[in-house]
Amino acid sequence: MSGWFMAARSRLVLLALVLLANVLVAPGFLELRLVDGRLFGGIIDILNRGAPVMLLAVGMAPVIATRGIDLSVGAVMAIAGAVAAASVNAGHTWPVAVLAALGTGLACGLWNGVLVTIFRMQPIVATLILMVAGRGIAQMITQGRVLTFTDDGLAGVSSATLLGLPLPVLIALAAAIITGLLVRATALGLFVEAVGTSPRAARLAGVPTPGILIGVYVWSGLMAALAGLIAAADIRGADANNAGLWLELDAILAVVIGGTSLYGGRFSIGLSVLGAIILQGMRTCILRSGLPPELNLLLMALVIALVLVVQSPACQPALSHLTARLTKRRAA
């Protein structure tokens, strides 16, 4: 556990900096108010807005740990939203719609997993297929329109409040905790990392490689479907063109900021969620500051560039040298 906090320290510093920037931009940022049994405030807002990317990051981290990538999550969000909206419009109740959407996410994940595992496609290609075709499928379901719905139960996925917190925040946190327990309280996490480090060695050591690989993609599909439900409930409609557009990139960024190695073999659910919160914090800060929102893209590029330089094998010796010197000085 202390290792986790060591790894989390630099990200927590980054988060603190982002929050500080937010406070400088909007002085009342840290205030929390309880209105009608629901908490309001800047931090709640960041968590609420960031919930979809947090969910996607929870699904993406294990995929990247197997040295894979899931480019299709944005498209899966659009399909899941479209399926949910179409089901309530066809007269089904909202729990049925939610289950249908989640089932769709599972099916999409299974498709990706089968392509990667059984057809042995490179993950970037396998998921590219669904990324390209997925929005077409979503548009087929919505008939090319924004499919609006009036069902309050389904809209509640985004607007309901439980224990004073918005439901999306609770869904994202629950998903993160369940996933974290699944991978760390059992050997599943180790299996995932083993597959990412060396698929061959993992297979020889008796790790059920195909099952693990399919499993991570299915999980990613499920998380994307949850995120898609939130996105659709948020606008009370399924927008096949724009729901989850480019969010796969945000999710990958969140995971990378969280220190998950793009070379596979190492991942952390908690840090990936932290990465998603940092990203949303940056976005909120720029929006509140009145700076052009376009700066956000440049800032994101800068942050990844920084993470890449720090992560790069070429910089590792210099960095470890620096840390060693710092620790020595502190000891002296």
Binding site: G136, P199, R200, V256, L295, L297, A301, P313
Partner: protein, 325 residues
């Protein structure tokens, strides 16, 4: 002999699919055979073709370039700002964006080589950078009214049957020829194939992998800048959100054209056919009139699936000791 088959078979299959599709279209709509439709097919997809030339280099070298759409968008805005805002002559502006594009790509290639970072994430960063810079220049669509643009748009080669092959279509074909020569008839091309086949072995054989990587991404970004020039001439305007998602179309064209995404196997001619297949599907949907454009996405997704599956099969049969992972 087997290896030659394995290399050319996907390309021949693509050519077969194109001819078959075209025949089906022509049976349904005989007007599809007119040289006007053919000329339009080349003109409307000129920017995509130029992007595919650069992407072929990158994918053959074992990489991927997600930044091309953003570089193209940036180029259209930069051109509009330079020509309309600063009053530069279009030819001067063209030179500036081409050189700028080349330098940008070299930077990306250098980052990939020396940071040892996956190309996918470095070019993603480059994409954010270029798109953000374009949006900072202007969020509005800027019309370009320079008379030189009118002159260039007027230039065309009249085909028998009345089809007019515009300057931009000719530029695209020229890019394919130049790319094909560089790739298939020069030492540089061989080095790119070697790098894509196995980067470590290429290094051990004495190939300068740093220079080759930088060159590949430099070419890709230059092509993206050229695509931006073409798009700017095509629409006579500059807009920062031009070409969102077009990198995926370029990748799809290259893959459908028979180039393996793992690098080292493929060629330039296939990519042209890959572009034309996508254009043909769009043209057919336009002719049909009742189908929405989202069918294009589903069709391209299905084609990608079929072609990648086909490649897997061919690879498995041609190389029984094939690499895993």
């Amino acid at each position: 002999m087997m290896r030659i088959n394995a290399r050319t078979l996907p390309m021949l299959a693509t050519l077969g699919v194109f001819v078959l599709l075209y025949a089906l279209c022509a049976v349904q709509y005989p007007a599809m055979l007119s040289s006007r439709v053919i000329a339009n097919l080349l003109t409307d997809n000129a920017f995509l073709g130029v992007l595919a030339v650069g992407m072929t280099f990158v994918i053959l070298s074992g990489g991927i370039d997600l930044s091309v759409g953003a570089v193209m968008g940036f180029t259209t805005v930069a051109l509009a700002v330079m020509i309309e805002g600063a009053g530069l002559h279009p030819l001067v502006s063209f030179t500036i964006v081409l050189v700028g594009g080349a330098l940008f790509g070299c930077g990306v290639g250098a980052a990939i080589h020396w940071l040892k970072a996956p190309p996918f994430i470095v070019t993603l960063t480059a994409m954010f950078l270029a798109r953000g810079a374009a949006l900072l220049l202007s969020t509005d669509s800027i019309p370009v009214r320079h008379e030189f643009y009118q002159t260039l748009s007027g230039l065309s080669l009249t085909l028998p049957g009345g089809g007019r092959l515009g300057l931009i279509a000719l530029l695209m074909l020229l890019a394919f020829v130049a790319g094909g020569v560089l790739l298939h008839f020069t030492r540089v091309g061989l080095k790119i194939y070697a790098l894509g086949g196995n980067a470590r072995f290429a290094g051990l054989m004495g190939i300068d992998t740093a220079r080759t990587t930088i060159l590949v991404y430099g070419v890709s970004s230059t092509m993206a800048a050229l695509a931006g020039i073409i798009f700017s001439l095509y629409t006579r305007s500059g807009y920062a959100l031009t070409g969102v998602g077009v990198e995926l179309d370029a990748i799809a064209a290259v893959v459908i054209g028979g180039t393996l995404l793992s690098g080292g196997v493929g060629g330039m001619a296939g990519s042209l056919i890959g572009v034309l297949i996508q254009g043909l599907i769009l043209t057919w949907i336009t002719f049909d009139g009742s189908l929405s454009s989202w069918w294009t996405k589903i069709a391209i997704g299905m084609l990608l699936f079929i072609f990648i599956g086909l490649q897997r099969l061919i690879l498995q049969f041609s190389a029984p000791t094939g690499r895993t992972g």
